[in-house]
Symmetry: C2
Subunit: 739 residues, 2 copies
């Protein structure tokens, strides 16, 4: 496992368009993102009202509010930061503060577009005003810091303004500024520091690069305040915006909307009950000359309620995060884990995932933080997708669940099951497979493969006969597998039987394990001083002349088919023949009824690369003896080795192969066992009892097949960022670490 | 299986608020639903333009367009049906038809609210006009039938209007009218018949009952034409509306929006590329006096393109549906299925699921139809939820996938895994379990349970000793299970070993099967003439006096604890003791290291009810002998028998129990094995090798745990429609069919 972590770290990093890079989020300073159900629903009014409510909050006292508008258009005529900067103090003055308060308010625009022009100059300069208000006595200081990052002149969507005014703002730049702003310490003391980020337009409005608002800020996953729409049709746009935020993994802390006497609030209140607060603001005066003083005064109680709601939302969130290590230590039972060896504070609390990075909860020098952590072993090699595909898959999962729920499979068909079968047969199964048998995970896919192989072998070798598949003297027959030492094929008791004895197959872990196989020591490949070397097992080291064939200057040479004529090939073949004949001599009722190998690389066994020539010779010898060949591609499948199927590298084909892990884009369990038509035919008869009896409640569930369909096509699409898949494990990198 | 189908059919039917009842949809007459990204985006203009384009379509010729507005407010001032009725003919006259055409257009309102008043009377009467246009020669007749179903006076959301004007329109009534309209034959001949349903407001606007538009019509799943929003913010509202439709399982055939020179269309075109057509309409004149003739003229090419897009969308859909039986016959390999016995035309093509009903594609008297089909065996007992929960789950699946993707489990924790563990331990595990071990399906949950039990037994009985778990003479020890004939615990080779020999365990299906257990014949319960009878196995029938204790007048009596003192209890106990001692005499190195039973009901074994007294006596005897007790609740768990856990009925508790199926609300694979702290402790030591080594790539995946969390809480909530779960299998009904 450690080696795998290391390996995974070793690979190049790539990020696609909005694939969010690592982002740190401090949690000691509460931060919320203000999203809109549409444009012009009052995000800025809510920000100002909320800022005032926070700064006048008695308990817990708030000493500072930092407001950020990353993307502003229509500037300088419109400036949401300026509005908050100019209006909030007035609201505070109105609020009855018990103590004399000194407010230091500032407003600043970092990057105005060239088109903004000179007359707006002073606005980009830091503006600051100081005012004192409230009762007398000892004076306290509060801070209101309003910032605009990018500002364009035209009052259009940022992606248009950026294009027309020639000032781009890349996603990574924007996120960089946001992260910096989140991490900024605030001078003010004696109270909480709050941060409000106001998005542009609606939840799915494009940013400067065209990335949607909800995707642009996803890596921070700030809790959302959704400003709803009180107008006719506003129920629909508010609920749709809410669902768009959910489809990005956001938590919505509150929905707040203007009352346009259409009772949108009442409906939303009942529809969203038990999920999120719904607050109502009085109608906003439409007269542009109205300075909204009265409106803000009327609204102050609502903003106070919103403030309370956000404060309790934040503290509940912190509470949950703080309790997770203890609770998981008490309630969970992890696989492969000796709980005695896991100290509570070493448990990783994962708040979310964005592409290849986890967002984990950590306490760093007494500060609560969400810290990015690279998913170093690709969550057991299930992960490949970047955050683009993650969002695509999330939407597809919602669609598949809504369209199908679950559909029992036998004698039924639905589009995801059929189309993913077509994609599998046209890809990893191309040129040999004609049937897809779905199951849940790698282990069950292997057990199904064994049942397939044993049936085919039994028919080919006269153990079973005729359509009725009559068997001669049942239980005397013992079917075994031919496999390699160091291989791994899953954890179910049946799959374990196909694995050579190891520390993990003892009575302690596998009370029923007997090891039903003949297990070979394979020759392996490693790199030393840029030379590829074959390391032969003891059992083969007697032949001196082979040494010529054990060093190669390139990877291509190692895989080259010309080696089939080499003396190494002869050595391998004679070794295999000898082992097989010894076996058949020693056993009367035992048969080697299947060959099962992980092509090219043994994964869990330690990332060992097997000499492809040896596997090729082994496969062809078994085929000549009518021993069905199983490729376990659960780990190697779908570009994990840089090709869709490892058999492309190996240069030979199986009769049966197993797939899982990356197949669904790393998001949901699904496995498939592919087989040739000959294997399929061996189960045909007129008796139901001859069918392959292995299924699970959720065989070929719609969500899994839908994910496979999307993921496999995505992997194949040259325009997508495949490095994220292949770089998880480059052959060269593997071999670096096996010498 | 047949019995299960029957059983499932036998139960009462319930439907919750918008739980859609069965709906038939003819596919020979193409039908589309016009949805809006918001209100006032031009749904009706699009309907009229599309109707005209269809009626003037040269090939394939369209003889008739039926337009339906189920819910109209602001009536009679506003009437979308009237608009389509009055404008479409004008557009047709403008279009150059090669042949003389006679158009019979009608407009009708079925249910105006009382508030609509008398002066609107004529409008409710069927209006009809006939016009002739186009070239001369033989005349063809076309039909345009416009209907409004419910009409309210106030120009507000239907749910408000319905309330204020006192005319309700229940979901089932509305859907009834829509289904009738879809099934209506149209008189016109010599061309296709098209149907257009125009929804009210935005995609998520409430209908008269408060049910959202997208939910109200879901059971028909008509392909959607989404009218987007060209205004500022329109990109966001259009994409959010699109996602809301996806979260209901709709296919969006085209997005069409007005050009407000903000290039919303260009952005949507690139964002939705390869997914859905995006069409642009010229800006709509704002002058109310403009009769839009010029606008429609300008737009005619767009509407023709839209018409072509919908026609090809429809024919591609039909093509796919028609090819699915053949393709699945060629590519798929179904579990438990003898493919020779499955004629191609008997394969069920499932287009979608809504709650408990599939929508299946059938050809009935030469008509292509989507026909509702009740999911009679609840898709192998995974289903319970109605369509309400299905939508809730779909949204949650999107959220979980977007927030987490997948997170590798060991030594990690995320909220769904932790919180679903809490819910499990507070429910089915209440009073005994303290640990949750997640896996993928019932079979793996069973294998994990066996490994748990064997470890505990080995320690308690000195087979393993000390923290180091040293083992004395390894392989001489043979651990077996105590189980009941007729039981079933899953299909993996390991789980099968815990099952008594049967037709399904022969060499043909399970080449490695040996049957590692001692299997008892259990006494069963059946009803005859309203009397509950116990039927004793041969081996117990010698004792005459027991007959007194084998008839009961009520179910309660059968489960009553007082029976623990009955002579039947004595009989059972002596039988069990005798069997156990015979076993231990006959075997030296063999141990019965676990009891495994399906509490109360044996599911796959044939829906047999076991005498609860017998299981109770068996459990207590095993506990007294320190043989760990496993309950297999994969089938019985989560209210399948009317209680959260079957152990509530049985009146005794296990040491280990397995859950799956209903746990996730029937939507996604996940299983859990619960255990007592004592069982958990038996795996503790300082060596990693003593850990429980059984995991899968997707252990405790976020989507599965999120679904379990939502589903289990939903089952428990008294306000939700639990009948859908419990009625799948009422004990009484079970017993009806076992005599």
């Amino acid at each position: 496992m450690l080696r795998r972590l290391f390996l995974h770290h070793a690979r190049r990093r790539h990020h696609s368009s909005f694939s969010a890079s690592a982002a740190s989020v401090p949690l000691s300073t509460p931060a919320f993102a203000v999203f809109g159900a549409n444009t012009g629903v009052g995000k800025t009014l809510v920000s100002a009202g909320l800022a005032a409510a926070l700064l006048s909050s008695p308990s817990p006292p708030v000493s500072s509010v930092a407001y950020l508008k990353p993307l502003q258009t229509g500037y300088p005529a419109d400036s949401d930061a300026r509005f908050v900067f100019s209006r909030t103090p007035a609201l505070l003055r109105a609020s009855s503060s018990p103590r004399a308060t000194r407010l230091v308010a500032s407003c600043r625009t970092l990057f105005p577009s060239p088109a903004v022009g000179a007359e707006a100059e002073p606005l980009h300069e830091s503006q600051e005003k100081v005012l004192t208000y409230g009762g007398d006595g000892s004076e306290e200081t509060k801070v209101l810091a309003c910032r605009t990052v990018y500002a364009w002149r035209e009052p259009v969507s940022p992606h248009l303004a950026a294009e027309r005014e020639g000032m781009a703002a890349g996603d990574d730049e924007v996120r960089g500024c946001v992260e910096q702003w989140l991490l900024e310490e605030c001078v003010a003391e004696g109270g909480e520091v709050w941060k409000l980020l106001e998005t542009a337009g609606g939840v799915a409005s494009p940013g400067a690069s065209g990335t949607l608002q909800c995707d642009l800020y996803r890596s921070f996953r700030l809790p959302a305040v959704l400003v709803g729409d009180g107008r006719l049709g506003g129920i629909s746009s508010t609920l749709s915006a809410y669902e768009t935020l959910m489809l990005r993994g956001y938590d919505v802390s509150a929905v707040i909307l203007e009352d346009r006497s259409l009772s949108n609030d009442k409906f939303l209140l009942s529809y969203l009950r038990n999920r999120v607060h719904v607050l109502t603001l009085p109608q906003i005066p439409e007269d542009p000359s109205d300075d909204l003083t009265d409106w803000f005064f009327e609204s102050s109680s609502v903003f106070n309620f919103l403030k309370d709601a956000l404060q309790s939302f934040h503290s509940r969130r912190i509470e949950r995060l703080n309790s997770m290590q203890r609770k998981s230590k008490d309630l969970l039972w992890w696989p492969f884990t000796q709980h005695n060896l896991v100290p509570q504070d070493s448990i990783t609390v994962i708040d979310s995932r964005c592409g290849e990075n986890f967002s984990t909860y950590k306490i760093k020098d007494n500060k609560m933080m969400l810290v990015p952590q690279f998913d170093a072993c690709a969550s057991w090699w299930t992960q490949g997708p970047d955050s683009n595909l993650q969002i695509e898959l999330a939407r597809d999962m919602g669609y598949a669940a809504a369209r199908y729920g679950h559909v029992m499979f036998p004698e039924n068909v639905h589009e995801p099951a059929l189309h993913s079968a077509e994609v599998l047969l046209g890809g990893v199964g191309k040129g040999w497979a004609s049937r897809v048998y779905y199951s849940d995970n790698g282990s069950t896919a292997i057990e199904i493969a064994l049942k397939m192989a044993f049936r085919k072998f039994s028919l080919d070798h006269g153990i079973l006969s005729g359509g009725e598949k009559n068997i001669k003297n049942e239980r005397h027959i013992q079917l075994k597998v031919l496999a390699l030492n160091g291989s791994y094929h899953g954890d179910t008791l049946g799959a374990m039987e196909a694995q050579a004895p190891s520390a993990y197959t003892s009575f302690l872990q596998q009370p029923w394990y007997s090891g039903r196989g003949l297990f070979f020591d394979p020759p392996t490949v490693y790199i030393k001083n840029e030379v590829y070397n074959i390391s032969l097992p003891q059992s083969m080291q007697h032949d001196p002349q082979v040494s010529r064939d054990t060093c190669f200057s390139s990877q291509a040479e190692v895989f080259c088919k010309t080696r089939d004529k080499s003396s190494a090939a002869d050595l391998y073949l004679s070794y295999i023949k000898q082992q097989l004949s010894e076996f058949s001599l020693s056993s009367n009722s035992e048969h080697l009824a299947a060959l099962i190998i992980e092509p090219v690389i043994q994964g869990a066994g330690g990332m060992l690369m097997i000499d492809p020539l040896f596997q090729r010779v082994l496969v062809s010898e078994c085929k000549s003896r009518k021993i069905p060949v199983i490729f376990d591609e659960v780990f190697t499948g779908f570009w994990r080795l840089g090709v869709e199927s490892a058999s492309e590298l190996l240069g030979c084909l199986p009769d049966i192969a197993c797939y899982a892990k990356l197949m669904t884009g790393g998001i949901i369990p699904l496995a498939a066992t592919l087989a040739t038509e000959e294997v399929f035919e061996s189960f045909k008869s007129d008796s139901k009892l001859t069918a392959l009896l292995h299924g699970h409640s959720y065989t070929a569930h719609a969500m899994g097949c839908t994910a496979a369909l999307k993921a496999i096509k995505w992997y194949r699409d040259p325009s997508t960022n495949l490095n994220l898949v292949t770089d998880h494990m480059k052959l060269k990198e593997v071999m670096k670490y096996v010498d």
